[in-house]
Symmetry: D2
Subunit: 304 residues, 4 copies
């Protein structure tokens, strides 16, 4: 029998000793001021007990991890029509690369890079009655936790400095792949990125993707086919320019955010969230990546 | 002695016979509704009589030709500091290519592509007391004609559909190469593009660039060194992706606009404006390019 | 219990009815002359009986599928030093894109695109005593079949027309990432691509990758860690520009070749080879892709 | 009256004082071993005396300057058919960029980048009876000097290390824009680059391009129209990624080589060669560029 608590404890103590924690994202004050020594993990097992360590119960800015939620919600609303507006190929480029979007005439490479996520936001703005409120409720439902909130300060800060994202949205609009006005979509987008969640809440919210489309209290669902496709996209596109590296070293579908969070999952087995605010040069959590490698090495669990 | 009137008349009658006039720009109604059969030329000679033919006295939207005026004004205001924010190399790419701007980290290739012209607009917004008014007065001065005006309808139409330009401005801002806010700069930019001038007015306004920096009534000036550099940029960058072709076929510095105007000049000799609204696939006036080729072939005048 | 034979039979009869079989590769006569109506499948299950249908016992040119064998052999010879010379990221571009190789200064994106495979070939030329002979023996060992041979005619044809590959090899050499001379490496490379195998032989040879690194007769092996990494690369990079699509639609690690073969595998469960010579526009077997989609849909087997 | 000797002497003494002479090309021993302190200039005036200074009478490797001769010869042989195989647009990229060639499907941007020059070499190999011998005679004719020779050692050295050029030639071949075999064309190309000439010989050989197509002894000629076009290409494409900068700072058509030579010309007025082996980061002679800027500033001579 695998001793999960021992494994988490060892990862925690090993990583706590390392000197290099990466660089905390500094482009907005709210992210910059996070304590770089924070580190937490939460393992949610589908067929057994859960395990956790460190700062697993502290909220952080989930940022790009929210792109998985908007993708899931968009698929539940309009099904395969999603794929008329976004592709499913890895981008092979840093996360803000406009060149590719221009070259491919406004069809983002996949829904997990910024351009693709902005298209998903546009879909939700079109489809939901009260987009920000309804989307927040969706996240609360799948996490089974009504306390999850947007951080308005973060959303406002991002809007003030998010010129690259505004450039992307305008470029999408020039290719007629943004149907609402730029400001409305960006307001939604900056809010989704500002969601604050704990490691536990993230692991709970991803339960749906590990559990064949059914969330913990059966309140929301996606089809098995949709879930498989989301997991495939997570594996091939979840880590920007480092997606191949993550598949190679960790071997699990997952998604990272610039707030230092990473969620990964093994279908039918578990979801696992790590949080450590320092980032590697590719923009993924430095210790989070190491923690996930250590976990899959110790447990020999991977999809391959 | 060269019989200029005969040459212009022959070009006019030859081109009138051609079936293919290119495609009139259709992205805003104000441009789309222009009569595609319009054709005019105006030759302003520095040391002799002027000659003209066809619709030389009809106003049209000068669009990108205005970039030469903002470049000249920016150079007169801040001199070589202009070159800290924009390069002088041909772009080798279509006029709205964001890829290059991203790759070169926010330094536009030259001041005659959209990104470079938006940086020039930003400089004028920073340097002029009343940017739109003062710039209009500059153009009136060098053309020696107080009747030149912005077309507000055109400016508003462009603002409504100019998503690519907004994308460029935001991308420049993300690289810290736009110092004023996006809306203010774009408002100035869309106004400069909306300037309406006749062939005669354009030829008169470019007199400055052919006449070593002194305009017709000596009201404005640039140094000889600045003029030579502007002419060099016109030759290497004045026709988007077709600059080499124009240098090759025509052999004169010049600038085209999507309204169908082209101005070219031979230093110390003449300025020549053609106008025909239909465009070739590269976005330059279809008959205008042919008219200029015919003129330099007939007269054997070129800088080479 | 899953009725595999029924599933294969149904896929076979369904696909036989389709009009569009894609385009057979035509760049060398040996590939062009293959009967476009050929279709075969062979399922090798690790814990149960094997199943097959159609032309499963006919040899075809495995082409790029051989890149998996050279990768495996290179890893077994020099271990992680492989990753000093090639990356593990999806290429996000067609299979012969030199641009990316130039931009990334001679480090191929991954070992399954042509440039990466040429680096693997270079490693084998350096490390093996008699490269072509020893590599052929390796393939025979893992397939447990001494009858597998190179097709010399195919190898010679490819050498005569393989200018893009010569360009790649020379570009690698210019970046000092090819240690042997171009001709020797290309001779090896064109031979590996010329290997002829049946669906059964391919399924048998990939047993190793599904079976945690042990081949059917235990004659060759890779570590579990190496196998997982190879499978990860297969999933993220095995289908050129369509890798994401394959992960998305099929959800299995796999590799295709321009001869119309595709091998896929579910770790610890099975290997499955399809062969149909007609290709889709991305260069993967048209019916082979459809057959694999149908198989995973019918069986609900995938890594996600 | 302009005091040319005084101007050349002053440029010479000023530049001799500068510490930074750039970096001598080091990729082959024959170029690396050149004395970095060499500096020479030779001014050939069409309507007056010639002037010179420093090491004007010493031979050096003309390298890419030879591309102007092959272009001229190709145009004299097949006229406008040249433009079916090469474009006339600036490349906007470093001189060995394969990406652009791939993107534009084997049509080089212009005849002065390596890919375009290799196509010119291919034309001469097709059209000339004894390509290397006949081309050498052409150069001797236009320079009016039978002593000009290839440096076989340089040609052999370049062939041994010219992997990027071999990559380009193979890529051209893959797009069917190289009609002879790669080795034959590259042998010609490496020989043309190995030509050794003095400043005087280069200025004499470019007399043709300044003198409307007639060389000094009327032994060879091009049409006025062809000459104008060559000059236009020199201006827009003669200095790799620095063509715009050269047009901007110097304002003359010209061509540089990695051996440290630069030739420039003012139509109907003069040809001027500078030689200094140290290069700037863009691959053009560091002091040569400065010398030409100083000359045109002092004399106020430019095409603009």
């Amino acid at each position: 029998m695998v001793e999960y608590q021992k494994i988490l404890d060892k990862i925690y103590s090993d990583l706590k000793k390392t000197k290099d924690h990466g660089e905390v994202a500094a482009y907005i004050p709210e992210l910059k001021n996070v304590d770089p020594d924070k580190f937490g993990m939460y393992l949610n097992r589908l067929h057994g007990d859960n395990f956790y360590v460190g700062d697993w119960n502290e909220s952080f800015s989930i940022q790009s991890i929210s792109k998985v939620f908007t993708l899931g919600k968009a698929m539940s609303l309009i099904g395969n029509d999603v794929w008329k507006r976004v592709d499913v190929e890895p981008s092979g480029n840093p996360f803000n690369y406009l060149a590719l979007l221009e070259q491919e005439e406004g069809i983002p490479r996949n829904p997990l890079i910024n351009s693709g996520a902005i298209v998903m936001a546009d879909i939700l703005v079109s489809e939901l009655d009260d987009p920000k409120k309804d989307f927040l409720q969706f996240v609360r439902n799948i996490a089974n936790d009504e306390s999850i909130i947007y951080n308005e300060k973060v959303a406002i800060s991002e809007a003030k400095t998010g010129f690259t994202n505004y450039a992307i949205a305008n470029l999408l609009k020039s290719f007629d792949n943004l149907h609402n006005d730029v400001e409305t979509v960006m307001d939604f987008y900056f809010h989704q990125c500002s969601l604050e969640m704990t490691c536990e809440q993230l692991s709970n919210s991803f339960y749906l993707f590990a559990n064949r489309g059914k969330c913990q209290r059966n309140c929301e669902y996606l089809t098995l086919n949709q879930i498989k496709r989301i997991n495939a996209i997570l594996l091939t596109c979840g880590f920007y320019d480092e997606a191949g590296e993550f598949a190679f070293e960790v071997g699990l579908p997952g998604k990272s955010g610039v707030g230092g969070g990473i969620v990964a999952l093994l279908p039918n087995e578990f979801t696992l969230t790590c949080w450590s605010p320092g980032l590697n040069p590719k923009g993924n959590s430095y210790l989070g990546m190491k923690a996930l490698e250590a976990f899959t090495t110790a447990t020999n669990l991977s999809i391959f």
